[in-house]
Symmetry: C2
């Protein structure tokens, strides 16, 4: 690893993201609650690949072209599993029994779309607290400038994604050059909240909403820093992890 400074821009949502802003960069897409956390859980349980899609329509169209025997449809709207889908967006649903060897089409409200847009970068990976240290190590080693794209919440600010983005910038230490206002704000918010991330997640807008739906365990799952070391990364239209990882 050399010590070239890395320019880091952060985006609170993907709303204003243009190809120009990710071109040639390492893109880190964050969706703590819950798509990127759940993607890590799915790979941990042995799924083969995840295909993020932008809409429920895209998911069902794609299903028709694939072998139904090995494909699972996953996704949510307003936090709930989509009618007719195999799985929702809770990490606890993605057990080894269900997902081992499978291809998962993922149509979450925010993270899936952010991942599709982020894939225009030089490389693109899915991050959340469960794999944050490995993400930091990987992007430092790659050495490209970095665009951290928070998935947000229906195009609005998401505190939990921002805190995770701040943690990544903090993890890069002196190598990170925060290059936009949002990156500076994210770092500051992380420093203020890092002593109790679980509580910050639980009390965030999105956290409170998920608790109200009965998904409280998902938040505890998502708050476990470095509990899953895998790095789902974009490769030819889908997310994969390295063999044997």
């Amino acid at each position: 690893m050399n010590n070239k400074p890395l320019k880091v821009e952060l985006f609170f949502t993907y709303a204003g993201l243009t190809d120009e802003e990710v071109k040639g960069k390492t893109v880190v897409v964050i969706d703590v609650l819950r798509a990127c956390t759940t993607a890590c859980a799915a790979f941990m349980s042995g799924c083969r690949e995840i295909i993020p899609v932008e809409s429920i329509g895209d998911a069902t169209s794609l299903l028709d072209k694939l072998d139904r025997e090995v494909v699972l449809l996953a996704g949510e709207r307003k936090g709930y599993k989509v009618d007719g889908f195999d799985l929702g967006n809770s990490p606890y649903e993605f057990t080894e029994e269900i997902v081992r060897g499978k291809v998962i089409i993922l149509a979450s409200t925010n993270g899936s779309r952010a991942l599709v847009l982020g894939s225009a970068g030089e490389d693109c990976m899915a991050a959340s607290f469960v794999n944050v240290s490995n993400i930091v190590e990987r992007i430092a080693s790659v050495g490209n400038d970095i665009a951290i794209v928070c998935s947000g919440r229906e195009l609005n600010f998401s505190l939990e994604d921002t805190l995770c983005g701040g943690m990544i910038i903090s993890g890069l230490g002196d190598r990170a050059e925060s290059a936009n206002d949002a990156a500076v704000v994210a770092s500051k918010l992380y420093e203020e909240r890092k002593s109790d991330l679980a509580s910050a997640l639980r009390n965030s807008d999105h956290g409170r909403y998920l608790v109200s739906l009965g998904f409280s365990p998902d938040i505890d799952f998502a708050a476990q820093v470095d509990s899953i070391g895998l790095i789902p990364y974009w490769d030819n239209g889908r997310l994969v992890v390295d063999d044997g990882a």
Copy 2:
């Protein structure tokens, strides 16, 4: 004025704003650099009304339906005056000699669109640092719940609008109940930066960009808290101010 608590939600951009989020509320649209600052300057110089429109096409179509003698076209893209328009988006252009008695069609990149969307609220007003205390007084007196909509910058975060939003929440004191994460973050950012707002504006992403274009005086203009007491508010498709204000 009664002391009913006011629920305050803040949006870093208008990207995710739905009619549901503004319905029945007092909407405060903020564009510090520069549309709302410039609107205040224009009314100070005696313009009769401002019609914010969402696109350059909308501006020119509307022009055809109005009396060209009394109408001025104003707007910018990437900070520069639109070709063929009478005015750009710098407050210094809107002098009494030019705008007195005129109707101004305003097609700025961010603020105009935010104002059009915000007009779905129960009431809607244009805010920036130059009129912030009067805005606080007005919204406290109206007593509706409040949606503060930062115009942002091409659907991305804008620090200067957020600081102004934080100042408004701070101004409401104990009456404000920050009801989403963005409102809490804005308040905190304002408290941290309030001792030198001019410097915060100048060093923001947008501030540095405007300085690079030669609009440095516009930033100083925008940083003058309460220099213009007027409140441009939405009335029947356009912004006006109270007579004699």
